[in-house]
């Protein structure tokens, strides 16, 4: 088989490698620039880009740590919020998707259409109504308004529903029912594991979105101890001229990217693993 088409496959492989290497370059160059910039002082940064690292990395870092911004707290808050958000989001979105996928009930069609419609509503305007609401609920300056709404995430739901359509077979669920398993247990022990790749994908997306979110947290969180990293970065950038230091900003950006990279690498093994996990065989 392979021998017959050896030449063309060889050529295709070469093309594939060239394209992949190019793409990787364009994906990684940004991290290189960020790290280079993190090693440069504020005045060096203002004189434009150079590809050569400078010597101020440690200095920038100590300035950042010595400053009054609670970056360690920020890191903990960001991890806490993003992790809980991702967890709640994927768990309950899978549950919602499963409800629509596996059961027959009257409101099913209506519910599905409704959730899809919800997905099309821009978040920008509801944000202001949302703020008034959480204020009435006395949730200002708490993490709840940042975490809880992720339970109802139409976009995540939609993906999981689509994924179930193409992979999750009802026969498996029925087999489990015959074995006497309860519905809730079936969901937790059979459905969730089968959805691992899709859940991992959405967990990453949700985690990253929450991690990088600035707009809503900036309006909800006020006390320093509760601030997340993007707010602290914004605060660093709007520092007064006496303290303004882009070197610190870049160090902080680099610092705040590491945890997401780790989370991504941990979860991505479910997605990028060489062997396909395979669907449920019909």
């Amino acid at each position: 088989m392979e021998e017959k088409k050896g030449v063309s496959i060889g050529l295709r492989r070469v093309i594939a490698y060239i394209v992949l290497i190019l793409i990787s370059f364009f994906c990684l160059i940004w991290f290189y620039i960020l790290i280079i910039n993190a090693t440069r002082s504020n005045s060096e940064l203002s004189s434009g880009f150079t590809p050569v690292p400078s010597t101020h990395l440690v200095e920038n870092w100590t300035n950042l740590v010595k400053g009054t911004l609670p970056i360690v707290n920020g890191m903990i808050n960001s991890v806490l919020i993003a992790a809980l958000t991702a967890l709640l989001c994927v768990y309950f979105s899978t549950m919602t998707a499963y409800a629509i996928h596996a059961y027959e009930f009257k409101a099913k069609k209506a519910m599905f259409t409704f959730i899809l419609a919800v997905m099309m509503i821009p978040t920008q305007v509801t944000v202001l109504g949302f703020l008034q609401l959480i204020d009435k609920m006395h949730m200002t300056d708490t993490f709840w308004p940042l975490i809880l709404p992720s339970i109802a995430a139409p976009i995540t739901f939609f993906y999981l529903k689509q994924y179930m359509d193409s992979t999750l077979s009802i026969s498996l669920v029925e087999a489990a029912r015959i074995d006497g398993a309860g519905e809730f247990r079936i969901f937790n022990t059979i459905v969730l594991p089968l959805m691992k790749p899709a859940i991992a994908v959405q967990a990453i997306f949700t985690f990253v979105t929450s991690w990088n979110n600035y707009f809503v947290p900036a309006l909800v969180i006020q006390s320093d101890k509760k601030k997340t990293l993007p707010i602290l970065i914004a605060q660093l950038r709007s520092a007064d001229w006496l303290k303004f230091d882009m070197g610190q900003v870049y160090v902080m950006i680099a610092f705040s990217i590491f945890p997401v990279i780790i989370v991504y690498l941990l979860l991505s093994k479910y997605i990028v693993g060489g062997v396909a996990l395979g669907g449920v065989k019909e």
Partner: protein
Amino acid sequence: MKKRSNVVKYNRWGYIFLIPFVVVYVIFQLVPLVTTVGNSFFENYRSGLMQVGPNWIGLENYKSIFSTPDLWQYFGNTMIMWVMGFVPQILISLLLGAWFSDPTLRLKCQRFFKTVIYLPNLIMAAAFAMLFFTLFADTGPINSILMQIGVLDAPYSFMNHVWSVRTLVALMNLLMWFGNTTILLMAGMMGIDPSLFEAASVDGATATQTFFKITLPLLRPILIYVMITSLIGGLQMFDVPQILTSGTGDPMRSSMTLIMYLNKHLYSHNYGIGGALSVFLFVITGILSLVIFRFTDNRKAIK
């Protein structure tokens, strides 16, 4: 009889499993949403610290947003920049997906490549934009490279020309989101039964045939998902052009998107116009999503 009642009993769980979503949705989204739609019929804004309204004005807000062709211009800008970013994005994603799932190609370092493509999405848009500004400045490295190899005589101001700004916006969106799309497609492809590929290869199908006859059709639900969510994301395009043009959408608002326009009205807390714009966006998104659904359904029927 017994079986039927059992099914009913199971199906009750459909409702139970929906409870968390519905409860959270109603509290955190429906209430603000209803307010939003309701607001579109009121005059309701803030002038400095003084609240004006809410006063019922019927459809005045809608009349006001449709009174100039601006809205359609911003809609056009949004679609142009979305298409400029999305077409290459979906093509690259499908190509990569096809390569990664092609058993005959046996690419090495797959793990590395698959991991790398999503990384740009981890960088905050604001941080990304800072890097873009540095790279594409008149005196920045891109200009100096282009001048050194003789493409340009004088620095080209990327931020002052309609199509270069649009291209940069599309490019940044592409870089940030193609990994996302590829991962979605790959996860979808992993759900496909591997024996199908084996069977195809035994039957002597070429890689192209396998891709179009097996992979694509089975990926359909995920593809629809990608199309629709990208479209919605595209229509709601905001952060990248907002930051790259400092919120102005210049030159002459040729890169102003609908949400950027909406955002302008939020500055004075103009919930009335804001609500009307949201309803407009909702209708447009709904129509376009329906078109995609129809389009993909037809293809299924033909097949």
